[in-house]
Symmetry: C2
Subunit: 340 residues, 2 copies
């Protein structure tokens, strides 16, 4: 019997495995990870940091596909069970403002979020530096490019799956271009997906632990629960040999989603397996999507592993919410913004 409820649809056919015996972490890995291995499609060297959604009687995904010339593009994929994916050889072609076909010269780290009857894709685009690209589709056949929501430099744009007071909400992580050594999560709202404003700071890197000391960024779309918005995100620490990306979890206030209600002081998953530790970029867990079943409280988290693979991990809404509450740390947000 759930104490915490997921507010949303039932999804009985979603991927699921019970917690393996002996595993005590709040999130556990799919036994047959990685679900997408290297060289999965002709001309594509690696797929990772990708997003999936329920669609019709199966699943659709938008994948970060690193081609064998080393540039990332967005490729569509479909699946019956959410685990075995058929991924298209050609990158998604969007229709731009002028009705012309358009393919970004590079595109990475997509998120896909359904709001009302439309699926929105947010990814990292080249807009004189890293910025957020934005598009929509209703059928995964035609894709319409929308205005870039923000000025550069920005990444990790995540739309909320539900409007609030008639406004769309988007998380993002403004920073500089390149392999940036800083970044917090902000929230912005829009009445029309063209103009954005009322920007608010949501949460900072930092805290007592060091696993999220360098930067943080949104991941999957927040999951509506009876406790608030459950959000998985990535937290990055620095070492003498580079960054390490772990997965964190937080609950945002339902009424005021720019407010953190509870935030786990620990990671909930960190690179430990061969496919997370080693690859094109070592030591990366980068969550981009979830599937969840409101009836059972089951959550499957899709994450990029070592910029080389796609992995799946599982948790239960009661367990993860309890874990976050039990490990809650109030990371001071006492930024001085004005006197008087």
């Amino acid at each position: 019997m759930s104490k915490v409820n997921i507010i949303g649809q039932a999804l009985p056919n979603m991927p699921w495995e019970n917690r393996p015996e002996g595993v005590t972490t709040p999130v556990w890995r799919h036994s047959a990870n990685p679900i997408i291995d290297r060289n999965p499609v002709k001309g594509i060297a690696r797929i990772f940091n990708s997003a999936v959604v329920p669609y019709e009687d199966g699943y659709m995904g938008v994948f970060r596909a690193e081609t064998i010339n080393g540039r990332p593009h967005l490729h569509l994929g479909k699946s019956k069970d959410g685990l075995k994916w058929e991924i298209e050889e050609e990158a998604i072609v969007f229709t731009d403002d002028n009705g012309q076909p358009y393919r970004p010269n590079y595109a990475y780290d997509p998120r896909v979020v359904k709001v009302e009857e439309t699926y929105y894709i947010i990814w990292c685009i080249d807009f004189y530096g890293a910025a957020l690209g934005f598009a929509k589709t209703e059928d995964f056949k035609t894709f319409t490019r929308l205005e870039n929501p923000f000025l550069p430099f920005n990444r990790n744009g995540v739309l909320f799956p539900k409007k609030k007071d008639g406004k769309f909400l988007m998380l993002s992580r403004p920073s500089d271009s390149g392999h940036t050594p800083f970044g917090d999560i902000f929230l912005s709202e829009s009445p029309d997906l063209v103009y954005w404003g009322k920007h608010r700071h949501v949460m900072s890197k930092g805290g007592q632990g060091w696993w999220q000391s360098v930067k943080i960024g949104g991941g999957p779309a927040p999951i509506e629960t009876s406790e608030g918005w459950l959000m998985f995100y990535h937290g990055v620490t620095g070492t003498c040999n580079g960054f390490v990306y772990s997965m964190g979890a937080v609950i945002l206030d339902k009424e005021e989603p720019s407010k953190v209600k509870y935030r786990s002081s620990t990671f909930v998953l960190t690179p430990e397996t061969w496919y997370e530790e080693r690859g094109f970029v070592n030591n990366v867990i980068f969550p981009c999507a979830t599937l969840q079943d409101a009836d059972t409280g089951r959550i499957a988290i899709y994450y990029g592993a070592a910029d080389s693979y796609v992995g799946v991990a599982y948790t239960d809404v009661n367990e993860i919410v309890e874990y976050i509450k039990n490990t809650h740390e109030d990371i001071a947000d006492d930024h001085e913004i004005g006197l008087i």
Copy 2:
């Protein structure tokens, strides 16, 4: 007889000096510069990078005042002739969203632009890093804070003095925080000053010359002329001993202000005098405002000098437009944004 016209008001009492004999540069300095010297007001060590506007039968200004504890705040000033300024000892207090008095914990590099009957102040604020603060006043007695237009990190926000198709237009220079080593000028629009979008790239640092090789940023509000929007800006180069800030000039397309029509390949003013070369930050000319007289085509440019003084320089609309056209360089804007 003017060939190029300033579209705007007559301002017969504006500061003016004819070009001194022997000076051949397109912009020339006021003979009694700096017009604001060090320690101009009790508790204020330096005033620079400040903005002035015509108001009633004289002028109002919003000044970057560096207090003797080393923090910048915005102070109001008034003047009969635009040259001798009475500056208030206390910083401007804004009214925030909740009707509470608010003074930013720091504030710098203000611009003041009149659109219709309202004066808007844009400055650099602390929003978890450098970002644009925004406020309005109609009487220079009460100041209402508006929503920050953009996410961090951003500086050099400049509003156009006229709406286009019912939309406000703002230039800005997204970058990172701190003494950033990069930055281009972008244009954004807003229907309501709350939500902003349709972001466009306007112009890049760079070109054949080196004076604007590191970064560029908007300065005074663009001046409407029969040739397009005349805009002065700052361009920065790097040396072994730090940055050097010069003034550049460009004409933006009237119908599509994100398009550069002509851009001078040379600076139009560069640090050469003692008050520009030496000060708290050596070698800085930082233009923030102009006054202009539509009847005569006279333009006075207010600029910060060496982060220590306020200087004034003059030019004539015909001379500067001709200079920009004659020295025009087409700085390639051939950024690859999409294939197909």
